[in-house]
């Protein structure tokens, strides 16, 4: 496992495994997801949106790295976005800072806190 890569293991060594279409849909190699097989792969996390993807070792196209994020990997969708002339660079850490900054000022984005904090006991 290289630096900045995650690790995924799908162990079907004692299982009938996955059909080919489901394995492909999940981004796995179908040959290693059938009965008695184990699939291991590196995963990449996008620095902008935090999408995690299974790394395709056969890919020849360039994987985009963001120079403004110290050369960290960004996913294809964010890479397309980043090419727009109106693109505003927004790594996830910056989004976190904005969210926390607003929260400290009492501005909570998204769902009201009351929806999350009012637990009921059953």
């Amino acid at each position: 496992m290289k630096q900045r890569e995650g690790y995924l293991i799908v162990d079907h060594s004692a299982s009938p495994g996955l059909p080919e279409d489901i394995a492909r849909q999940a981004g796995y190699d179908p040959k290693h997801c059938g009965e008695g097989k184990t699939f291991e792969a590196a995963t990449l996390t996008c620095a902008h949106c935090k999408i995690v993807s299974v790394k395709n070792p056969l890919r020849t196209r360039e994987r985009v790295k963001c120079a403004k994020c110290a050369g960290r990997y960004i996913c294809d969708l964010c890479a397309i976005d980043a090419q727009s002339p109106t693109y505003l660079h927004l790594p996830f850490e910056k989004l976190a800072d904005i969210t926390l900054d607003l929260a400290e000022k009492g501005v909570v984005l998204g769902s009201p806190q009351e929806l999350l904090s009012s637990k009921i006991i059953t």
Binding site: M1, Q3, R4, E5, G6, Y7, L8, I9, V10, D11, H12, A14, S15, P16, G17, L18, P19, I22, A23, Q25, A26, G27, Y28, T43, L44, T45, C46, C49, K50, I51, V52, L77, C78, D81, F92, L95, A96, T99, L100, A103, E104, V108, L109, G110, S111, Q113, L115, L116, S117, S118, K119, I120, I121, T122
Partner: protein, 169 residues
Amino acid sequence: MARRIFQAASYTPTATADASALANATYQSIAAGSATQVFRVKEIQCGGQATASAVNIMMFARNLTAATTPTALAAPNGDGPMSGATAALAAPPVTYTAAATGPQRTNTALTARLNLSFNAFGGIVKWFANLGEEWEIIGTSVSVAPSSLSAFTGGNVGLMGSHIIYEPL
């Protein structure tokens, strides 16, 4: 801060489309306890418990809509620190498997989700994040914060157990 494990011992997920409320006891959901709390999800593991072949298209994804009134966890499910010396948090994380209205999985292409498909008849799927590349949950804003592990449409879901290891910062 110390790492914690949120685990659901045994449940059968229901294949649910994106942007639809998840039914109780078919998912694991995790949200920050305050608007300024930050978590890092380090590991997710699903282990099959089905007695016949059953494909589970499990997804760990951001919530498009937060749950209303999450129900407190009850045994055998649980959420606790990995170290017995861990001090109690001022704002405990909101981890739950049931709510008055369940959370909805994101349906947008630019919102993170992790596909963890496996066969619940003896299959195991496990994802580990590298240091600094973890799944982050920040505050309580939907689409950047609350996340859930649930079954996507398709497959013939079977019994499974799962755990999520995370670290509040």
